[in-house]
Assembly symmetry: C2
Homo-oligomer: 190 residues x 2
């Protein structure tokens, strides 16, 4: 049985706490939806923030909603060199000991003390997909991306939940190294 | 027998004809050596040029010398999006049908009509290395880069010559996707 999954390429983006949203955009501010994402309930917001590192900045980093319990900026390793922030490869949510950065919005600024990561590549599995293929939460998978720049990614983290839709998330460095784009198909080979 | 090769990460760079060097830097100009590269006789020059695409530019792109029979700009896929030049993945020297770009130097400008590529990953083998491992020129290899972001690159082109030193060349996207850096070691697995 071939285990194929759709590929989603994540450009740099940020998740914000409601507290930080209000500092950056004003008291009581609510994010507004630009478009829905592949994971149920998640959306790209119309709002963006500026991110300022020691060597450079990004003027418009897309906010993904809804608000979360912790603010987290996800950038590529290329981005980390560009702005001068030494972000480690981490699974989403595991931000202990990660660097911070300065965020600027139309209503104010926040210097976050941690939360900048290079997101570890991962696949979201609905519980039923994982059961069908015998894949466990947190299992490390090998996944082939085919084509001219074909490659096999190792250490792809399986994330299994009833609230997930089947989708593999890679960042722009991984997409550019492999020539992959959102909507392509990857194959789990081990 | 383990087939291990040193890794060299190529940042964006340009090779120029002597004619273009003289348009950009002045009549009779000769490139000056900043440092030697891994391949015998090749060097990074002190000189840089500006490269201007439809969506952006790079102010200082390193010139690699000596002068070549054809001008060739090598950028990453990330770079190609940044400056708005649709560079295909090509082996060095195979520039037919590739896009051009505007080059600016201290003494003048050149609009090249072709020559912008994303360099296909490859390994330089001295003839003796290739013979020892049974590898033929133009063979496509699979190569593992280990570590947290470990992966196996497919379609790595073998280039064999008496004038080459053993070295695997990947671009910054491939380096950032794999976490590899110049001086790391890769293993040919097939």
């Amino acid at each position: 049985m071939s285990k194929t999954v759709p590929v989603g390429v994540s450009a740099r983006h940020i998740h914000l706490t409601q507290e930080h949203i209000e500092v950056l955009f004003g008291e009581g501010y609510q994010l507004t939806e630009f478009k829905a994402l592949s994971q149920p309930g998640q959306f790209a917001a119309n709002e963006t923030v500026a991110v300022v590192g020691s060597k450079g900045s990004f003027e418009k980093v897309r906010i993904l909603g809804p608000a979360r319990p912790a603010t987290q900026l996800e950038i590529s390793r290329t981005d980390s060199f560009a702005i001068g922030v030494k972000a480690p490869v981490r699974e989403s949510g595991k931000i202990d000991g990660t660097p911070g950065v300065l965020l600027k919005g139309p209503a104010g600024e926040v210097q976050i003390e941690e939360g900048v990561i290079v997101a570890a590549r991962h696949i979201h599995f609905h519980t039923s997909d994982a059961a069908k293929w015998g894949i466990k939460d947190q299992e490390l998978l090998k996944v082939r991306l085919s084509g001219e720049r074909g490659l096999v990614l190792e250490n792809v983290i399986a994330r299994v939940s009833d609230s997930f839709a089947l989708d593999m998330h890679i960042d722009t460095d991984e997409a550019n190294a492999s020539g992959a784009a959102t909507g392509d198909t990857a194959e789990i080979i081990d």
